[in-house]
Each structure stands twice: as structure tokens, then as C-alpha cells.
């Protein structure tokens, strides 16, 4: 990679952050979010997916929002293609995390296909918060390993335990998916444009919900992003 640095404000102070502090931050995120794989396993089983299908999603897709979106759409009777499209569009943001991470981590070419699977919200948040490359690599690895192992383990437990739990709705577990979305969304709602996009997307999604097949309203709501972007650019706000 010989590309120019993309972050001009990225400073590398001479005193690196202690390794123990990096590991503590990374494990905190990895364990907390990793445990919520249990909610995914139960939700997935409740949506009618088999244990193998639920585990395959956590092993192969490994990006929580896309997984919850996919099983939610399939459980509501959506077509597999509309469901996969919604999940895929949610996964597109990981490409942009990857762009920023590749600059910071400078991974060897051979490691990239392996590391790519861990490029998600949580690993990016931990890694991008590190002050130097050594800490960034350590934070990325520790968050990635702990989260991947726990997320898959708890998915299996959740999917297996779902049958014993009976109706997941009685335990309130059908609220886990939307709560995960809300928790991921909240820190993104800093500016006026961001709030406008969220408001318009909610409106589009709810209006389309009774009118269009399951999975499609989310795709219509995604149009809120280019619409708000076009309006603000025309106004010359940005």
C-alpha cells in the first residue's frame, strides 16, 4: 500500500499506551458485545432458523446488525433476496471501516483475508481510538479474537437454549434485535443531517411496512441517506 494517508489528524505520540490498558479496553468491548450473541442465537431460532443456520451466520457473516436484519426479515416471511439485500447494505459500512483500518494497521497482504472477517463496528471503534500502530494492532487483535470466539459460542448456546426457553417473546427477546440497532445507531446521531436521515428513514420504513413485502421497506428507507445528502448539497450547507 503506497496510498497517501487519509487521516491528517492522526498523531503518533512518542509514549505508547501501555499494553495492559489496550487489552483491558479491547476485552471490555469484546466480552460485552460477544455475550449478546446469545440474544442473536435465540432470536435466530425464534425466527425459524436451525441451529446450524444460526451458527453459520455468526461464523461466516459475523456482523451483528446484518445478522439480526437477515433473521428478522426471514422470520417475517420476507423473500431470501430482499432479506439478503437489506443485510448486505448494512454490511457495506464495514468496507469504509476497512479503509480507515488498513491505513492504521498496515497489515501484510497475506494476513488481510483473515483479518477482514473481524472488520466490524466494535473492532473499528477500539482500533481507531488507539494512539499508535502497535496499540492499534493489539486492540484490533484482542477485540477481534474475544468477540469472534464469544459471539459464536453464545450464538450456539442461544440457538440450542431457544427450544428450552419456549416462546422467545415471553422472555422479551424479540426486543433484543431492535435494541441492538438502537445502541449502534445512537452514537451516530450527532449532527442535524444524521438526525434528518434517521427521522426520514423511520417514516419511510413505517409507511411502507403495511404496503410492501417484508424486507423491502428497509431498502426503501435506505433512500433517506441519498435524499438528505442531495438536499443538503443543493442548499450548499456542506
Amino acid at each position: 500500500m503506497t496510498a497517501a494517508p487519509i487521516e491528517t489528524d492522526q498523531q503518533y505520540p512518542p509514549t505508547p499506551k501501555p499494553r495492559s490498558a489496550v487489552i483491558r479496553d479491547a476485552l471490555g468491548v469484546g466480552i460485552a458485545v460477544g455475550l449478546s450473541g446469545f440474544a442473536f442465537g435465540v432470536t435466530s431460532a425464534g425466527a425459524g432458523l436451525s441451529v446450524a443456520q444460526s451458527c453459520a451466520l455468526s461464523l461466516l457473516v459475523f456482523t451483528g446488525a446484518s445478522q439480526f436484519a437477515l433473521v428478522g426479515a426471514l422470520g417475517a416471511g420476507g423473500s431470501p433476496f430482499a432479506a439478503a439485500a437489506g443485510a448486505f447494505f448494512l454490511g457495506v459500512r464495514n468496507a469504509f471501516y476497512g479503509l480507515r483500518l488498513s491505513e492504521l494497521l498496515r497489515l501484510p497482504r497475506a494476513v488481510r483475508p483473515l483479518a477482514a472477517q473481524w472488520v466490524i463496528d466494535e473492532t473499528s471503534a477500539v482500533t481507531l481510538a488507539q494512539p499508535d500502530r502497535r496499540s492499534a494492532r493489539l486492540g484490533f487483535t484482542v477485540t477481534g479474537v474475544s468477540l469472534y470466539v464469544l459471539w459464536n459460542l453464545t450464538t450456539l448456546l442461544g440457538a440450542l437454549g431457544a427450544a428450552a426457553l419456549g416462546d422467545p417473546a415471553a422472555w422479551g427477546l424479540d426486543a433484543a434485535g431492535p435494541a441492538v440497532f438502537l445502541a449502534l445507531l445512537a452514537p451516530m446521531l450527532r449532527g442535524r443531517d444524521e438526525r434528518a436521515v434517521a427521522g426520514l428513514a423511520v417514516l419511510l420504513g413505517l409507511v411502507c411496512l403495511p404496503l410492501l413485502p417484508s424486507g423491502v421497506p428497509v431498502l426503501v428507507a435506505a433512500l433517506a441517506a441519498p435524499v438528505v445528502l442531495a438536499v443538503t448539497r443543493r442548499k450548499g450547507v456542506r
Binding site: 460485552a32 426471514l74 431470501p80 464495514n94 422479551g172 435494541a179 440497532f181 445502541a183 413505517l206
Partner: protein
């Protein structure tokens, strides 16, 4: 079978996006409008998904039920800067409690 197809497409697509980000030269996707759209797109999707999975039912109707109370609890937890797991736990517990009291 159609579930496996959906899983396959999603797994392939999501992995391809992750690898793409790590592999392309930085300037490639770094045009300001693309970056801006990339930041706004997940906001639209997450907001719509939150609303649809809170107020929507399996037969595509809109309802106000125990999930709304659960999400309100999650929102309060977020305002109090609670950790991720507490936010999700609050939503689950409150939803279950409201159902138990109502049922």
C-alpha cells in the same frame, strides 16, 4: 433451502465488503460524497430497522406493544451512557415484564 441461499449471499457479500475495504488503495473510495453517503447509509438502515422491528408484526401490521416499552427502556439506558449489554438487557427485561404484567 431458501434460508441457506440468503445466508450464502449475505455471508459472501458482507465478507467481500470487509476485504474490499482492507485491500483497495485509500484514495479509491475516499471521495467526499462517497464517504458522506457511507456514513449516512447505516443511519438510515438502523433507524428503519429499529422502528420496523419495534412496531411491525409478522403479518405486516403496525402495533404498539410491550416491545415499545422495552425500546424506551433501551433509549433511557443509552442516555445514561450504559454499556451495550445493559442497553440490550434493559430492553429484554422491560419487554418481558410488561408482557408478564399484561398477560
Amino acid at each position: 433451502m431458501s434460508t441457506w441461499i440468503a445466508i450464502g449471499i449475505t455471508a459472501f457479500g458482507c465478507y467481500a465488503m470487509k476485504l474490499l475495504g482492507l485491500s483497495v488503495p485509500a484514495g479509491f473510495l475516499e471521495r467526499p460524497v462517497v464517504r458522506r453517503l457511507a456514513a449516512l447509509l447505516p443511519i438510515a438502515l438502523l433507524a428503519a430497522l429499529t422502528a420496523i422491528q419495534t412496531f411491525g408484526t409478522g403479518d405486516r401490521a403496525l402495533v404498539l406493544d410491550a416491545r415499545s416499552a422495552g425500546l424506551a427502556a433501551a433509549a433511557v439506558a443509552l442516555l445514561l451512557r450504559a454499556p451495550f449489554l445493559v442497553v440490550v438487557g434493559a430492553a429484554v427485561l422491560v419487554t418481558a415484564a410488561v408482557r408478564a404484567l399484561a398477560g
